[in-house]
């Protein structure tokens, strides 16, 4: 069945608008994701590095505690 030319134009416009809108929303979502989530991951990565360093320091401190208390034990 032959579709009228005007109807074709309207359908094409509608599809284009939908496609452009979808494209824009996807790009916006990616931008948002990049600006928020990726930044959060970057920050988390840095903080985990700090946490690991603190873990090392904590272990060193506990080792110092043990060495100190060992002296106390030996003095008893």
């Amino acid at each position: 069945m032959q579709v009228p030319i005007q109807a074709h134009d309207e359908q094409q416009d509608e599809l284009e608008i939908k496609a452009q809108d979808l494209l824009a929303r996807i790009q916006a979502a990616r931008d948002t994701f990049e600006q928020t989530t990726l930044n959060k991951v970057e920050s988390l990565t840095k903080n985990v590095e700090i946490l690991k360093e603190d873990m090392e320091k904590t272990s060193d401190d506990i080792v110092n505690i043990l060495e100190e208390e060992k002296k106390n034990i030996e003095a008893i």
Binding site: L15, E34, V41, S59, I73, I76
Partner: protein
């Protein structure tokens, strides 16, 4: 029963070796068991410090559990042996003096001096024995004091063990808080990823809808223009996939690190808790420290006999009740008794001994030969009082670890009975 000196030496050697092995084994067991428990927790350097501190604490607990008393007892025994050695030397000097006088042509003139010298020497002997008794009593008292000291020391050790745990826990707290914050951040990111994945699914559905509509479009021109747009959408959606994959890849080492930190925190908690557990065990009165299955050979003639029996067979002796009473006992010097000649005393002694109840006879019998030997010693062949006989025989019982007050009393009664009859 004559105990072969070679046999005694062997027993001493075996005991020293058993003690050494026991000590080594105990330490090794402690290290292995604790080392196994924290195996893989820390690097070698930290593990060394942890195990070393744990060893020190356990060793100290063990020290105040047993060793101090053993040391005291060993010292007391050494003191007593030293005194006994002095007594033996005096005995030898007197015997030598007597032998010299006996061969002297003027023996008769010297005999009075000999009696005086003997009396003097015996007085000295008795003085030394009393000193010995005082010292043993004093050391027993020290052992009692040592118990209080041990209790206090164990309490101090318990305090240190608990303090190790509390200090370690306190030190871990800020780290735990920091880790918790990061865990929450990580959780938030994961939620955003989930949302992003859902968004992507929505985009995909919309895209598929557009594609379906596009397929229904008739003209080639319309299709080309829209297909170009659809291609862009597909590339963006693929970009979303790449974003998610990239992010997950970035999160992977973070997760690994977080797990590692958590494990480290847990390891420290478990480790410090071992110190608390040890404090609980160490302060318990009936603590057991991985005591290996080694049996110390008691360095007493009785045990030597028993060991011989085990080795060569023989009759099982009746139950030894000699240690069922505390070691402290007083030698009752009592009123002065008439003196009697040792040779007569010895025969009466054997006779009376044979008439003892069987249980008592069994208790005293390990010391019988030594008592006979002592009674036959030239220094004791003169006139001794009942109290002097008792003072002579009591240390022999102690040498054989016969401390049963009933047995000592039976021996005293035996002596008194002989004196009352003759």
């Amino acid at each position: 029963m004559n105990i072969n000196p070679f046999h005694r030496n062997n027993v001493d050697t075996i005991n020293r070796r058993v003690d050494q092995l026991t000590e080594d084994n105990n330490r090794e067991n402690v290290r292995e068991s604790f080392g196994d428990k924290i195996s893989g927790y820390f690097n070698d350097k930290i593990t060394k410090v942890v195990v070393s501190t744990y060893d020190s604490l356990e060793f100290k607990f063990k020290t105040y559990q047993h060793d101090k008393v053993d040391t005291k007892q060993a010292r007391m025994t050494a003191d007593r042996d030293r005194d006994q050695s002095q007594l033996n030397k005096i005995n030898e000097r007197i015997a030598s003096f007597e032998a010299k006088i006996a061969t002297d042509s003027q023996g008769k003139r010297w005999s009075g001096e000999l009696a005086g010298a003997r009396t003097s020497a015996l007085r000295e002997l008795n003085d030394l024995r009393r000193q010995l008794e005082t010292r043993v009593s004093s050391t027993s008292s020290e052992i009692s004091n040592t118990s209080e000291v041990r209790a206090k020391k164990k309490e101090e050790l318990q305090t240190v063990a608990n303090r190790i745990d509390s200090r370690a826990t306190k030190r871990l707290e800020p780290l735990e808080r920091q880790k918790t914050r990061l865990e929450e951040a990580n959780k938030e990111i994961n939620t955003e990823i989930e949302n992003y994945i859902e968004q992507k699914a929505g985009f995909q559905t919309e895209r598929d809808g557009l594609k379906s509509e596009l397929d229904q479009a008739v003209t080639q021109g319309e299709r080309v223009a829209l297909r170009r747009l659809l291609g862009q959408i597909d590339r963006e959606i693929a970009g979303v996939d790449r974003d998610i994959r990239g992010l997950k890849k970035e999160l992977q080492p973070i997760t690994t690190d977080m797990v590692s930190v958590q494990r480290n925190i847990d390891n420290w908690k478990v480790t410090s808790n071992h110190f608390v557990e040890m404090a609980k065990r160490g302060s318990s009165p009936d603590v057991h420290y991985n005591v290996p299955n080694t049996e110390r050979v008691e360095n007493t003639p009785r045990t030597v006999m028993e060991n011989d029996r085990r080795t060569f067979g023989g009759e099982e002796p009746e139950e030894d009740i000699s240690d069922s009473n505390p070691p402290e006992h007083n030698i009752n010097m009592g009123p002065q008794m008439p003196t009697m000649i040792s040779s007569a005393f010895v025969s009466e002694f054997i006779h009376e001994f044979n008439d003892l109840p069987e249980g008592m006879s069994n208790t005293l019998s390990p010391a019988l030969l030594d008592m006979q030997r002592e009674l036959n010693n030239p220094i004791n062949t003169g006139h001794l009082t009942a109290d002097e006989y008792k003072a002579l025989l009591h240390p022999i019982l102690q040498n054989y670890s016969i401390r049963n007050i009933g047995a000592i009393h039976a021996l005293d009664t035996l002596v008194d009975r002989i004196f009352s009859r003759i």
